[in-house]
């Protein structure tokens, strides 16, 4: 078994969730690395969409941001932000990968403020494209590098980006497209999905050496637990080799 760090494991787990022959919106950081790894492993025909207009890029080299030249290098179209967002709004984009400072049990995310809105205790970056991605993509996958009770919270300080809002039917009630919503959460402890009926977050798989109790204890809200908990396979030697030698050889992220 290869030696690896937590970030590398997170990238591998996220990567495996990326389905070949679909279009996925990816943001900077782990989603980008995961997409690049997926394209070199099991999903060569994954079409990666970036919000500033690049779609279908080769990802030969790792972009530094969602609009740099690597996001449309050898791409199939290089348009603009409206076209990218409207492609999602029209229902063409299957997956969206997001992150956040806080997530609640319905998969809602906060990337705006800690404390009250203004002036806030901590001003975070804001929605960026996350709100659009989570409003329009069919399935969203949240990546949370640090699974603890400050990040998996009962109540968000600010609901930046919609998950299942306050429960079943509330997305549709708010006007969001039917049959869309959060799909998975990847954290440093494991992978969560959502209970079909209650739309509440549910532990599906833990990372090796992590117990389901640890996941529950590190979540402020009551984390549901699936009847059968899988264990995420560790990064394979091949995954690590490709990740280190081809995805991020300059060690920009890992």
């Amino acid at each position: 078994m290869a030696d690896y760090n937590e970030t590398e494991f997170l990238i591998c787990v996220a990567s495996r969730l990326m389905q070949d022959r679909t279009i996925a919106f990816v943001g900077t950081g782990i989603p980008m690395l995961a997409a690049s790894l997926a394209k070199k492993m099991h999903a060569p025909e994954l079409v990666v969409a970036f919000e500033f207009g690049g779609l279908g890029a080769s990802l030969d080299k790792l972009p530094l941001g969602v609009g740099d030249s690597r996001t449309f290098h050898k791409a199939l179209i290089a348009s603009g932000i409206c076209d990218a967002m409207e492609t999602a709004q029209r229902g063409f984009i299957e997956y969206g990968f997001l992150g956040g400072a806080q997530i609640d049990m319905y998969g809602n995310l906060n990337t705006t403020v800690i404390g009250k809105y203004w002036p806030p205790k901590v001003r975070l970056p804001g929605s960026g494209g996350a709100n659009d991605v989570a409003s329009h993509c069919w399935k969203t996958i949240a990546i949370m590098r640090q699974h603890d009770t400050k990040r998996f919270v009962k109540k968000l300080d600010f609901l930046t980006t919609p998950g299942y809002l306050t429960g079943p039917g509330t997305r549709e009630e708010a006007g969001l497209p039917p049959n869309t919503g959060p799909y998975r959460v990847v954290s440093n402890l494991g992978v969560m999905g959502y209970d079909d009926k209650s739309k509440r977050m549910m532990l599906l798989a833990t990372n090796p050496g992590i117990t389901k109790e640890q996941v529950v204890q590190n979540s402020e809200f009551e984390m549901l637990v699936a009847d059968k908990i899988a264990v995420n396979p560790e990064p394979s030697a091949q995954e690590l080799k490709i990740l280190r030698e081809h995805v991020d050889p300059d060690k920009l992220y890992i």
Binding site: L64, Q89, T161
Partner: protein
Amino acid sequence: MEVLESGLGELFQKPDVWGFREWVHKHKDKTLTSKLMTEQEAVAKFVKDGDYLGTELYGTVRAPMSLTREVIRQGKKHLKLAGQGIHEIDLLLAADLVDTLDITYIAWEVYGISSILRRAVESGRVKTADWSNGAITWRFKAAAMGIPFIPTLSMLGTDTLKNSSAKVVKCPFTGQKVALLPALFLDVGLIHVHRGDKYGNCQIDGISGFAFELARASKKLIVSAEEIIDTEEIKKYPEHTIIPFFLVDAVVHAPYGSHPGEMCYNYWRDEGHLMNFLEDSKDIVKTKAYMDKYVYGPKNHDDYIKLVGIDRLKKLESMIGGR
């Protein structure tokens, strides 16, 4: 229209369609007259204290940095900004020239949040309203279309909507709820392009971000270009013109105008410079030292280029990918 819900965020710029029409009718020059000028002339002539300013870019890519630095050197105050931005907004905030922000995302992507934004907003010095990236661009698009608002399915059900000035209504055709975004007409737009002619006809390589929309949403538009080309080149490929001359008030020749950001196919971003800035920006004194050295120090963009050093810039050129 019966409004089901109204965002409580302040509407910093009213969607005044008639005012915009009257303004462009009275002020916009529809003639083929050279608009080439220095960035000092352009900013002095077309940016006023209190203006609502928009910059077009993708993160640090194709950012109108030379124009932004000149706005700061001239100390244009009480600005309103729309961002989606990074380095250029950090600089404007650090110079304490900004009163309000229609914010969608201001941060350093993978390198994390902006210390300068935090200080400006957490202190209560800068007021904010929040939007999504799509929403703010659709606000420009509505302005570019000459209509007072545009619907979207974004922002519904969230605090983002509650802290914006969007409104929720029921669609009279389908009965579904939609968010209406007020058009965002800018007093001044700043855009950096690959090439343009002296009249302001401009071309952009690669993705075009929201240049099309922002150019059309601006009462006054200052364009900087890596290269000034002959109008005959424009006429040969008119389908490559993304900004036609009649939208443009000033054309500034600014090679390396996006530095320390990237310009696709021209030069890679200056990672060292940005990492140093990012570190400096955590500290008020060091931020001021950066501003003194790179913004207030050089008297113009030529000076800035000399300060950065042509060898360094040539190196960045060598690092950029081709097609």
